[in-house]
């Protein structure tokens, strides 16, 4: 499971799923909010192993396979891929069906375990490393300026060309 999560968010110079403790998050998830997904894991994990053997008959365990082999397995499991127009997530990330194939379930759980509020009791995003990776500063309270752009902003000025002014200009 950890190897799988590591393929979703690898540790490639900066912390990934492994360092964020995603596997602990998932352990806890499967007895709390994701209890319905236990079945998907039970049925799906042997499938991952099976797919590895189909692709690489000589390989032993998924966790011991090379990163290239692991990625090839994930690619073969990812039925969606990344090749169509995006859709706006309605009301946040609310997932749909509880009976998703393992790939989608693990993708959700890895992302959630990597980026969940580290101050929550979900046991994910250890040390806030997920937030650091995406550039979100730790903490729950910020004071402006938030960026160089608003730091340099001179302050609000009304538009010089109001609609009535524009109309006057048009007349001229």
């Amino acid at each position: 499971m950890e190897a799988f999560a590591s393929c979703i968010i690898p540790s490639d110079g900066t912390p990934g799923a492994r360092e964020a403790g995603v596997v602990y998050f998932i352990d806890r998830a499967l007895v709390t909010f994701a209890v319905d997904d236990q079945k998907s894991y039970r049925q799906g994990l042997p499938e991952v192993q099976k797919r590895l053997h189909e692709l690489y008959p000589e390989a032993s365990l998924f966790s011991a396979a090379s990163p290239e082999q692991q990625e090839a397995v994930l690619e073969s499991l990812d039925e969606v891929g990344a090749h169509t127009a995006p859709r706006r997530p309605r009301g946040g990330f609310r997932p749909g069906s509880p009976a998703q194939p393992l790939f989608e379930t693990l993708r959700l759980h890895t992302i959630a375990g990597f980026l969940i509020d580290p101050d929550s009791d979900r046991k994910g995003n250890r040390g806030g490393v997920g937030w650091t990776v995406i550039g979100r500063e730790p903490g729950h309270s910020f004071q402006p300026p938030f960026s160089q752009i608003d730091k340099d902003y001179p302050g609000w000025q009304p538009s010089s060309a109001t609609p009535s002014a524009k109309k006057d200009a048009d007349k001229k």
């Binding site: 990812d78 995406i134 609609p163």
Partner: protein, 562 residues
């Protein structure tokens, strides 16, 4: 639980029972109780406090901690009345004391004069039941001002050349500007448009014992932990409780309005937390349960006297639903904007509030705002089985090192332009009860029927085109618009028991009194006659302040006693 609340017995005939404690219910509870009336507020959700709120995206978005739960309260959906509805989540609304005002974005635009009299100005629109309101902007203006001062709205009077007249400035300055607001402002001005500081129901300064916004970045969908967001929970409920005349009774799920043989409401029947049934007696009943649950409750209260649903002699209960049309475009910028900090919106524009149908070829109008309303998991995740529902650009990788790199680059460099606009009322669109599907209490589930008027979709495309122009002028490195689909899901639940002088084509009169039952009042999103340009909560609160005045005048005249 607060100790200064009275505890009424269900057999006590209180002056008012109010169903729902959200934007409208909270205001009505405060107004009526502080004017000496005894009030019981029945709220189906729990009583949560600031200390119960958190930034746990799983709890809030996945477990629906603050909102209606699809497993307990399933919905069904169909496009037209001829179709068989299928189970599908149709709406999200707040299910806790404070209602949806706990978790909204807090964009607080007043409606403009045109919103109240558009039918007279433009004539009939084919396929729509568009009518004028029985009240005007001038009638509501004092109450908009009341909302701004009593509930707490930040903004800058006179900043928009399109603003309707106002009797008083805002009580506090706008919230600080965000990078996305500055980029939006500069690009809009290049195009000759008139951006201005967004009016927001979030405190820019401490007020009435509440904190100013601390810019935590978890705003839309989340409850405010410091009381800076001007929800009913933060602003109105505490005053209602302090009056000593108002009891807030949470976990009370009303499923029937009791009617006597004379056709008058005598109280509300509800399940308590243990599913025991009670009848709270009252001299008058006010439904502020939202634009879906208010009509549902009227359908659930059908009787031999009211076979088509309570107060439904017009046949308009549940109909004319308007979701507001919308379109979202997204830009990625070179420089870091860090818009994940702070509230969602700091600049908007209203140049397109009233489009010329002759010129653009469709009815409608709207506004644009620059916003960032995504939280970390929401930004990174896409819905299972659907592609790229995240905040990343089209064709982005969904896993692996390129996915991670895209998150690392884009999370702090992305924002959205949100186009909000009109929806036309259509009698086929609405909420009623499903003939088969039941909720966890055995009650018929909400059924949504909705198919956008073609003009609403044309407007959404038109607004998206303006947003893309703006992103272009702003120098976005990448930009795209999310697909504009027919809507099958809503959060703005408007028009389903609309106000009007004609009992044949409306459910309530201008006093929010149902045409059919003298001591039954409806006040929430369902009361709206037109959709406005996408930000209904300000108007719902203003209507509630006005409704309180009207209802108290009737009560003082003795018009509500049996």
């Amino acid at each position: 639980m607060k100790t200064d609340q009275p505890k009424y017995k269900t057999t006590d005939v209180v002056d008012f029972v109010i169903v729902g404690s959200g934007a409208a219910g909270g205001v009505l509870a405060k107004e009526l109780s502080t004017n000496g009336f005894s009030v019981v507020v029945l709220e189906q959700g729990p009583y949560l406090h600031e200390s119960d709120f958190s930034h746990d995206e799983i709890k809030i978005l996945h477990e629906d901690f603050l909102t209606n739960h699809p497993k307990l309260q399933p919905n069904t959906f169909r496009k037209t009345p001829q179709d068989k509805a299928k189970p599908k989540r149709a709406l999200v609304y707040g299910r806790a004391v404070g209602g949806t005002s706990n978790h909204f974005t807090a964009n607080f635009w007043r409606f403009h004069e045109i919103d109240f009299k558009e039918r007279s100005k433009i004539g009939a629109v084919a396929g729509s039941t568009l009518v004028d309101w029985p009240i005007s902007y001038a009638d509501l203006e004092p109450y908009y001002t009341k909302v701004e001062w009593e509930v707490g709205v930040s903004g800058l009077a006179g900043a928009s050349p399109f603003d309707p007249p106002r009797s008083k400035p805002y009580p506090m300055p706008p919230l600080p500007v965000k990078a996305n607001g500055i980029i939006f402002e500069r690009a809009a001005r290049k195009l000759g448009w008139n951006p201005f500081p967004a009016p927001m129901a979030i405190l820019s300064q401490p007020r009435a014992g509440r904190s100013a916004c601390v810019n935590c970045g978890f705003c839309l969908a989340f409850g405010c932990e410091v009381g800076a967001k001007s929800s009913s929970l933060a602003s109105m409920i505490p005053l209602a409780e302090k009056s000593g005349k108002c009891e807030i009774r949470p976990n009370s799920y009303v499923h029937k309005i009791e009617i006597d043989e004379k056709g008058r409401a005598t109280g509300a029947v509800y399940f308590d937390e243990k599913k025991n049934v009670h009848l709270q007696k009252a001299k008058a009943v006010i439904l502020s349960a939202n634009g879906a649950e208010t009509p549902r409750l009227l359908f659930l209260s059908a009787s031999s006297k009211f076979p088509d649903g309570l107060a439904n002699s017009s046949g308009y209960v549940g109909k004319n639903l308007m979701f507001n049309s919308s379109a979202v475009s997204v830009g990625v910028f070179e420089e870091q904007t860090n818009d994940y900090k702070g509230f969602a919106v700091s600049r908007i524009l209203h140049d397109f509030y009233e489009l010329d149908a002759q010129k653009v070829g469709f009815y409608g109008g709207g506004g644009l705002d620059a916003r960032y309303d995504m939280t970390p998991i929401g930004f990174a995740f896409g819905r299972p089985g659907e592609r790229n529902t995240s905040g990343l650009p089209p064709n982005s990788p969904r896993w692996g090192k390129d996915f991670k790199a895209a998150l690392a680059h884009n999370f702090t460099r992305t924002f959205e332009i949100f186009g909000h606009g009109t929806s036309l009322p259509i009698t086929n669109n609405g909420f009623d009860v499903d003939p088969d599907v039941k909720d966890a209490w055995g009650l018929p589930a909400l059924r949504l029927t909705y198919k956008d008027h073609p003009d609403d979709l044309k407007l959404a495309h038109w607004l998206a085109a303006r947003s893309m122009e703006l992103l272009d002028a702003a120098g976005a490195k990448q930009k795209w618009t999310y697909p504009i689909d027919e809507q099958q899901f809503g959060v703005h639940l408007l028009g389903t028991c609309r106000m009007g002088d004609d009992p044949k084509t409306s459910v309530i009169n201008a006093d929010h009194q149902t045409h059919d039952v003298k001591n039954l009042f409806l006040c929430d999103g369902s009361s709206l006659v037109t959709s406005g340009r996408g930000q209904p909560t300000m108007t719902i609160m203003a209507l509630a302040f006005r409704a309180a005045d009207r209802i108290m005048a009737l009560a003082k005249r003795g018009d509500l006693s049996a």
